[in-house]
Symmetry: C2
Subunit: 471 residues, 2 copies
């Protein structure tokens, strides 16, 4: 393995691979395009689950588990869905030593499987709304893969709900994307823009897709999760009706929403720096590392006391032998631990400890009796600071553009988000992509109505869309 | 669906299928041999995870995630392991529309995948012990399947550890099986016997397998989880060595241990009765159901108050309209809720409520101010009662047998566990199976040394083994 990280500012993608491997977040699997999530990376996913699962349950969604294997024929029922996913399928053709009569897809997403079961189970308006979620693995065969950001197998949660009315259904589509926004903002310290995708960019088989778009340090936009209004498309394709209050047949309205391990890729990039990871305290598997100066005996005993004094936090004591203090500091900076406590024998004598912040590198000496109180507020401050920094970065790199030359110039130089008028004609969208590589990221949910003319064709437009380079 | 359950006492296997479907624990999936775990069933699995995951972490095991797909060639490295699993593999031959150069097995277990990564990551005695666990899905193609008990895809956790010494390794094998025993006893109210498997029954590729064997109401034994001492078999097969303290090459000793959704099948059978499920309070997704008598208005308001009074428990209020009180009682008895509270307007007037226990059917009227205290002790009592009942059933159906005629007679009549001398010759074991269908379940961990002669061939034997019919 390389001893140095690639440069964060000039070579983010190589820095990213380096840090994922060196911080032991994940590794390449023997199967091309797949990855192993190592304990330090998996702990991030567990903290996402701990934050999000209660929010999902409080909303009235039940967890369940649907099968990994989906008969290939199921994919042919919803045409757009089939066209979207068929090229990406991993297919099981042999089971128990025999060629299978019907080939099985390894699930790339579970719409078709779950909705067939919903149809079997729920036939009355009394059964609605139906709200289920599963935490599971899915497989989409990818040609170009990146650790966390795009892997052939990934972990996610997928929520699938059904309602009697379109209004209730849409309200839930919005609830889900806002719940994701809350997770990004509060847990992961990441800023982003919620909005609706263009038809070209929406989910295969859905009616409308809401996204959370987050700007990465290299000016590319990460589609960080999605919430789909499926309309009645899927209930029509499998002919699922329920009896409504009047005894008549009604077709349920459906939505689905997913949040995956891709989010961890965004987390790593959003806050990282030339020294390595920078983790927001709320998601950090280790919030505080205590480093007693090597061979300082009093400092070691005092550090062991501190472990119990700080037991309400996620704390690690570094007692590894044969490393210098400097090597230890570098190691924990690389791993992005929010707070490092340094303690030597002279600190013990003066009843003090040195606190070092990972996000700013600032150090301060504090009296031990004040330690818990200072840590409490410092963790909050670091969490807040990382979010504000990411928000400011995003705003500083969002450009309002009114002509195509400026559009192209931004995409060739600074990159970032562009707010520009677009006539909503897919041909313009395609041409802009060809010319600049930029795609429509979304129409922001809070975009004000504003009359203007398309940045590409000058036809009338009513909103500014968000454009950017896709990750 | 059938309206009645099959008879619990005379037709357990049909009762089992009926209750799994009717209580909405699970359903058959469109793919043969797979199942859908519905929310009520999945909540049981979540409660198992909540109980067991902290025990695993406290022991120093880290959660991680390894890929679903394993190159077929990996299975050929450990010969016994390959022979054991090859007939059960589901094989992916097509990915992204193309025939794959190397076929991929959908993991039936992750020894080979994880240990190849361990070999890559860990090369020094300083890296040991290694302790990792994953919660995931696995696939073993099965010809005859039963909901929960044997499905082609199932959920489990698999722990995989490596040590420098055989002693440390064995200590952990025992730790794991005892951790499982604790889960069965304390969470699931199930009794069972820990012991070591015979060579014929052990894990393919392992050295020794420890099992927890639990007796079901029809006298069959459920292998309810296993912990394997793998010796150095796998490190040899992949040539994994680490440098020991003296700078010399050492081969790690390894163990693996797994607990699956099969356990839920055991839970259902162990405590069930002719009315349906009976769930121990510690694992019950709903511990208390409140049933206000239909159309009693005061009772409905009082019930809503009770929800907050009982907020430290998992409580459900049944406000479904159009059902009689009797229908509601049956519905919740079927679902196995440990405690039912019945409340009518006259109960409100007298400030009382009726408490009904699911395990014994006993009812008592209690004063509302005493309710929480009574529920607190009643939940403990029910939990304890179910465990004691299952323990007594197991002991009442364990027979010490000294000749082959008695052995055969037990297996033809009452069934149950048999404690009998066996010479440990696999030919005797095979003949006993042919004659009686009984297999060695285990040599109990606490079996006293006792000189005797094999129940089949009369050769010397030093222990009584446990025999039974396999589920």
């Amino acid at each position: 393995m390389k001893t140095q990280l690639a440069d964060f500012n000039t070579n983010l993608s190589e820095w990213f691979n380096d840090i994922v491997l060196k911080a032991e977040l994940a590794d390449y699997a023997p199967v091309k395009g797949c990855m192993v999530i190592r304990p330090y990376g998996y702990a991030l996913w567990e903290n996402i689950q701990k934050f999000m699962d209660p929010l999902i349950k409080q909303h009235g969604v039940d967890n369940a588990y649907f099968p990994l294997f989906i008969p290939i024929s199921y994919f042919e029922k919803e045409k757009e869905h089939a066209e979207g996913f068929s090229p990406e399928l991993a297919v099981v053709t042999v089971g128990g030593g025999k060629e299978l009569a019907e080939k099985l897809a390894v699930r790339p997403t579970s719409e078709m499987m779950m909705y067939e079961m919903y149809k079997k189970w729920f036939g009355s308006w009394r059964d609605l709304p139906v709200r289920m979620n599963q935490w599971c693995n899915v497989v989409r065969w990818e040609k170009r893969t990146y650790l966390f950001l795009r892997t052939s197998e990934f972990l996610w949660q997928e929520g699938h709900c059904a309602h009697l009315t379109s209004e209730e259904n849409m309200a839930e589509v919005i609830w889900a994307i806002k719940m994701y926004q809350q997770t990004y903002n509060e847990l992961m310290g990441m800023y982003g823009i919620i909005g609706v995708k263009s038809n070209a960019e929406k989910f295969a088989g859905g009616s409308k897709t809401y996204t959370f778009e987050s700007l990465m340090p290299n000016g590319k936009s990460l589609q960080a999760c999605t919430s789909h209004d499926l309309g009645q498309n899927f209930s029509k394709s499998i002919d699922w009706t329920v009896q409504d209050q009047k005894g008549e047949k009604a077709m349920p309205w459906q939505n689905s929403w997913g949040f995956s391990t891709r989010s961890i890729g965004g987390l790593i990039m959003s806050h990282g720096d030339e020294k390595g990871l920078v983790l927001p305290p709320n998601i950090a598997p280790i919030q505080i590392v205590i480093v007693p100066i090597p061979n300082h005996q009093k400092a070691l005993s005092k550090s062991q006391e501190l472990i119990s004094q700080l037991s309400s936090y996620r704390v690690k004591l570094d007692t590894v032998e044969g490393e210098t203090a400097g090597a230890k500091f570098n190691k924990w900076e690389l791993k992005g631990i929010p707070i490092r406590l340094e303690i030597g024998d002279r600190d013990v004598d003066s009843n003090t400890v040195i606190i070092c912040r990972r996000d700013t590198g600032e150090k301060q000496t504090v009296q031990l009796p004040e330690l818990n109180q200072i840590i409490e507020s410092l963790l909050k401050e670091i969490q807040q600071n990382l979010f504000e920094k990411h928000k400011k970065f995003t705003q500083d790199n969002t450009f309002t553009v009114d002509n195509y030359d400026d559009f192209k110039k931004v995409m060739e130089t600074t990159r970032g988000f562009i707010k520009a008028h677009w006539c909503e004609n897919p041909e313009c969208e395609a041409q802009i992509k060809t010319d600049t590589k930029a795609t429509t990221r979304c129409l922001p949910i809070d975009a004000a109505k504003e009359e203007g003319s398309c940045v590409h064709c000058s036809q009338p437009s009513h909103h500014r869309w968000l454009f950017g380079l896709s990750y």
